[in-house]
């Protein structure tokens, strides 16, 4: 009986996985580290992470406002919820920092905690990294090569352009399940002409049965390979058609970029896609802290508030922690220097701890929706909830601990004063 149960559970799980794999498999993820740009207002580029952070901000404020709109002494419903959260945070902060400092630190620490945890958990919604505007990768590639040709310099480093085969490019869309990713690469040192050749060969290899048989991937494609690729592309009615610019040169191409030079073909004016196209979904939403800008901003905020509290509590004496005259104590001079360094390094560690965890989590979720949809993803979602909470707690608590360290008196003189001050109170208590 028991064996039957186990067997049926295993079969059920496998069936579940199989169904997921056939029906709900996600697209092969294109991992892009920098946040994708959606639009720009003046110098400020609105990336999807910034958009997400604004939405989360509005959400937090809306929740706070709704919960405190009509406060009553006997709490109920929403007010109870927010009060529980706030009083939990106050309790924790006061327990660690003491009554007086706790109240001072509380608002910033609580905001850090709420901000981080809301962003992390909000980022787990399924519409994240899935719905977005599509980018015409073909256009992007041609534009990049044209720019490089305009500059007249070779590509400095290897560059990758990820794309999915898509029916349409442009407009708002959802990442297609089971979309296969392709990557066009330019090698370091390629001139624009070589990159143009490479692109033609790449198109032929991906859209037709043509194979260039290049032994060395980094070597520029041979003339035969490019011509063969062109022939293969022209032979297949569904394959993209590469339009060669007429000699003498058009000034402006239809697609808004200059003709792309090609070593073999002269100049490519445009590429037309009668069938499938090369596109990429630029998601509207992406976890706020999967962008280094945002985690770095939080690291800087944490640094600034800690230093602010330090100066506020100790005045200029706060600097005495870091700058000790070498004739007083050479060792302390060195220690002070290390302290100063560690203050600055904290920003970096704050930044990358949060970024690493959240970015890795997003990649993991995307990867598993592609590799093993259903079941494993659920487990990872659970894990991500936990990670989101832990990272928020770590960020807030570390800031709190650093703040306590900053407002504490340091140095021998201060210790004597403290002891001196303690004795009378002790005596009073003894009485």
């Amino acid at each position: 009986m028991k064996a039957v149960t186990i067997a049926s559970v295993i079969v059920g799980v496998l069936a579940f996985l199989a169904v997921g794999l056939f029906i709900a498999q996600g697209p092969q993820p294109e991992i892009i580290v920098p946040a994708e740009k959606l639009t720009a207002i003046g110098p400020l580029e609105i990336s999807n992470t910034l958009l997400t952070s604004w939405i989360v901000m509005v959400l937090i404020i809306a929740i706070a406002w709704l919960c405190t709109r009509s406060m009553t002494l006997i709490p109920g419903g929403a007010q109870n919820f927010l009060e529980a959260v706030i009083s939990f945070l106050v309790g924790q902060v006061e327990e660690i920092a003491g009554e007086k400092n706790g109240r001072k630190f509380f608002m910033v620490i609580a905001t850090i905690f709420l901000w981080v945890i809301f962003n992390n958990w909000f980022g787990l919604f399924p519409f994240f990294n899935a719905i977005g505007k599509t980018e015409d990768v073909n256009h992007h590639i041609l534009e990049t090569i044209a720019e490089q040709a305009h500059d007249g310099t070779p590509f400095e480093k290897r560059d990758k352009f990820g794309a999915w085969f898509m029916e349409n490019t442009g407009g708002i869309t959802m990442a297609k399940p089971r979309a296969k990713a392709v990557e066009f690469e330019v090698q370091a040192g390629d001139t624009a002409e070589v990159a143009g050749d490479r692109y033609v060969v790449f198109l032929a290899e991906k859209f037709t049965d043509f194979r260039a048989h290049a032994e060395d991937e980094e070597a520029a494609p041979t003339k035969e390979a490019v011509e063969g690729a062109m022939a293969a592309l022209n032979a297949d009615p569904k394959a993209p058609k590469v339009h060669i610019a007429a000699e003498g040169g058009h000034g402006e191409a239809a697609e808004g970029h200059e003709p792309v030079p090609s070593a073999t073909l002269g100049a490519i004016e445009s590429v037309e896609f009668p069938g499938r196209k090369l596109g990429l979904v630029i998601p509207f939403f992406r976890g706020t802290f999967s962008d280094v800008n945002n985690t770095l901003a939080m690291g800087i905020v944490s640094f600034f508030v800690v230093e602010f509290w330090g100066f506020q509590a100790l005045g200029l004496a706060y600097l005495g922690k870091f700058f000790v005259a070498p004739w007083k104590s050479p060792i302390m001079t060195f220690v002070g220097f290390l302290e100063l360094l560690s203050e600055l390094i904290r920003i970096i560690s704050f930044c990358f701890r949060l970024f690493g965890n959240i970015f890795a989590g997003e990649v993991l979720v995307l990867m598993l929706t592609f590799l093993m949809p259903f079941l494993f993803v659920d487990v990872i979602y659970g894990l991500e909830l936990f990670v989101g909470f832990i990272q928020a707690a770590v960020f807030a608590l570390l800031t709190l601990v650093f703040a306590i360290g900053a407002v504490e008196h340091h140095g021998d003189d201060d210790h004597h004063e403290e002891h001196g001050a303690e004795h009378p109170t002790g005596a009073v208590q003894a009485h």
Partner: protein, 169 residues
């Protein structure tokens, strides 16, 4: 460094925007969440402390009132007992008095009765004596047929009676 910055997508405007975001959020939350809620929490804490204090006072008052009542009850009970005891004493005394009185009365009435009886008897004896003297005189007259003067007779009779030792007692 530049490459790292580019690879990570670092850009200053967004960095600043995010720092600003945080402080804006901090200010707004301070306004709509932290201040009202902290105020409410403190207020409630104070209210609860006051309530507990009041309850403590009320309990103390109730306890003292209870003690008061108990004391009063005790006094009342003691007084009642005293009153009852008094009453019982009085009753006993009254009973004793009445018993004594009645005994006295009885005694007196017996005494009176006895005196009356004595008087009655004395009178009866005196009557009887008078009667008896007459009878005796008549009888003696008849016996001796002598006419005697009455005073001499009386004297003889008294002597006789004295000799006969007949008395009322």
């Amino acid at each position: 460094m530049d490459k790292a910055v580019e690879a990570l997508g670092l850009n200053l405007p967004q960095l600043i925007a995010q720092v600003v975001n945080f402080f804006v959020l901090l200010m707004i939350l301070r306004l709509v969440a932290y201040k009202p809620i902290l105020k409410m929490l403190d207020e409630r804490k104070q209210k609860i402390a006051e309530g507990l204090n009041a309850a403590e006072i009320a309990r103390a008052e109730a306890a003292s009132a209870q003690a008061n009542i108990q004391a009063q009850l005790d006094t009342a009970r003691r007084e009642g007992q005293e009153i009852v005891a008094n009453a019982q004493n009085i009753a006993t005394r009254i009973q004793a008095d009445s018993r004594e009185q009645s005994a006295k009365d009885r005694e007196a009435s017996i005494e009176r009765a006895r005196a009356e009886i004595q008087q009655e008897r004395d009178r009866a004896i005196a009557d009887l004596r008078g009667e008896f003297a007459d009878i005796t005189v008549r009888a003696a007259e008849k016996v001796i047929n002598q006419s005697l003067d009455r005073q001499a007779h009386q004297r003889v009779i008294d002597e006789t009676l004295a000799e006969s030792n007949f008395s009322g007692n």
